[in-house]
């Protein structure tokens, strides 16, 4: 399939990882086609374009397929330079710091949110506390990295803003689903301010999913995990 711009994103509306790709393309003013994938039955597109990439997001650019959201964001940053927007910082040390915290989001924060969604009631409080501790670390990181500016990336949205910011609705929806306040403004005031700026940014505001739709998706995942305890991994779909 060929889009007019040669760029297609295969995604799922509620996926923070897909949102990262959309935000990055928006920041670079790149037009793209979007194909919504229903994860319960993988479409021909997903199976055809890259046999190794079994999940969204997938970026198709001039018939080449790339998967893994942060790999895609870095690809986008390197390929599209016309509008002069830089997603990653230019200094190697700053890049390392951004990558470190993006990995923290993916390796620590996201798994904890998934854990919370499927945890039994009595286990939820402990996970909530760990998520809170993670958010405090991110608050400290924000204070240090932003140096008083609006975003982790400085005056403009950067790599780490995209990595963490894409998860904001996920955090909100998880909290709503579980009836818990995961973000404590008193403990993470700067992060709260940053979150408001990020979600209202032009490149972001039409990308992040509507919260109640997201909660419905999480409810389904939660129900599947409960109904099929032998399915071990998110989002607990039957084997394909």
């Amino acid at each position: 399939m060929v889009s007019k711009s040669g760029v297609t994103v295969v995604g799922a509306f509620f996926s923070p990882f897909v949102n990262r790709v959309q935000i990055a393309l928006n920041l670079k003013s790149v037009e793209f086609d979007y194909i919504e994938e229903t994860l319960s039955s993988k479409s021909d597109v997903l199976l055809r374009c890259n046999p190794i990439c079994k999940t969204v997001p997938v970026l198709i650019h001039d018939d080449k397929s790339i998967c893994e959201s942060l790999v895609i964001v870095q690809y986008i940053d390197q390929v599209w330079t016309e509008n002069g927007y830089c997603i990653l910082p230019s200094d190697p040390y700053d890049r390392a710091v951004a990558r470190f915290w993006a990995a923290f989001v993916d390796d620590k924060m996201v798994p904890m949110l998934k854990e919370l969604i499927v945890a039994p009631e009595e286990g939820k409080a402990a996970i909530k506390e760990r998520i809170g501790e993670g958010l405090v670390l991110l608050e400290e990181a924000f204070t240090k990295i932003s140096e008083g500016k609006a975003y982790f990336g400085g005056n403009n949205i950067g790599y780490l803003d995209i990595a963490l910011g894409s998860c904001l609705e996920f955090i909100k929806a998880t909290g709503k689903l579980c009836g818990l306040e995961l973000v404590e403004p008193a403990k993470t005031p700067n992060l709260v301010g940053w979150a408001a700026r990020f979600t209202s940014n032009e490149a972001v505001k039409n990308v992040l999913p509507e919260i109640d739709r997201f909660v419905e998706v999480l409810k389904r995942i939660q129900a599947r995990a409960k109904a099929f305890p032998d399915r071990k991994s998110w989002p607990y779909l039957p084997p394909q």
């Binding site: 790999v71 895609i72 040390y93 470190f100």
Partner: protein, 216 residues
């Protein structure tokens, strides 16, 4: 970049730490090595990696970089004039990052699964077999994942080259054989025979004894 202070805090038995050493050696960067004792973490480690308290940590002019893949990219971007660890072409670069992540996320998880002594082991072995087949396919037509020379993916795959073989041997699992994975086994031979790899990775016997003692 001249004579700038480079220190590495690591463990001789850690594949993650070894990745960093391989990269530093490929780039010809002089560094000071500090062996850590995990049962008695140094105050430096706690100071430089307060978030994870893990190794390796690279200290460059007093500034810490943590997480092995982050460190590898940092090394590549900082010491640009030396041989590149990643390809320049955006798509090839993306693929290299993808494969490194594949090894770190999927292969390691499967290895942990195969390590279990319970029913989890069969599932782990199944998963591992699938991932090794994927890597086998990726190696077709290439000497190394990086092409003619070792690159980011080969460096990341140090745990496939050494650690996996030792683990499977100790568990009595016959999986990584020339019959099942001819290209991968050839890659392992070429990799372990590479000058820099030979002088950096621990030898198989030493590592095997270490794992046995650690009651793996």
């Amino acid at each position: 970049m001249g004579d700038q202070e480079v220190k590495l805090f690591s463990l001789w038995a850690s594949p993650f730490g070894k990745r960093v050493e391989i990269a530093l050696k490929i780039k010809g960067i002089k560094y000071e090595y500090f062996e850590e004792d995990l049962s008695n973490k140094s105050s430096e480690l706690l100071k430089y990696n307060p978030v994870h308290k893990k190794l390796p940590v690279l200290l460059h002019n007093g500034k810490p970089v943590c997480e092995s893949l982050v460190i590898l990219e940092y090394i590549d971007e900082t010491w640009k004039s030396e041989r590149s660890l990643l390809p320049e072409d955006p798509y090839a670069r993306a693929m290299a990052r993808f494969w490194a992540k594949f090894i770190d996320d999927k292969c390691i998880a499967a290895m942990w699964g195969a390590r279990k002594n319970s029913e989890g082991q069969e599932e782990g072995i199944e998963e591992l077999t699938e991932h090794l087949k994927t890597l086998e396919n990726e190696l077709k037509g290439k000497k190394f994942f990086g092409g003619d020379e070792i690159g980011l993916v080969d460096i990341t795959a140090d745990l496939i080259a050494l650690w996996l073989g030792v683990l499977l041997e100790l568990k009595g699992i016959e999986l990584l054989t020339k019959e099942k994975f001819p290209r991968l086994c050839e890659w392992i031979d070429d990799y372990l025979d590479h000058q820099i790899i030979k002088e950096t990775l621990p030898d198989r016997e030493t590592y095997r004894d270490f794992l046995l003692k650690a009651k793996f």
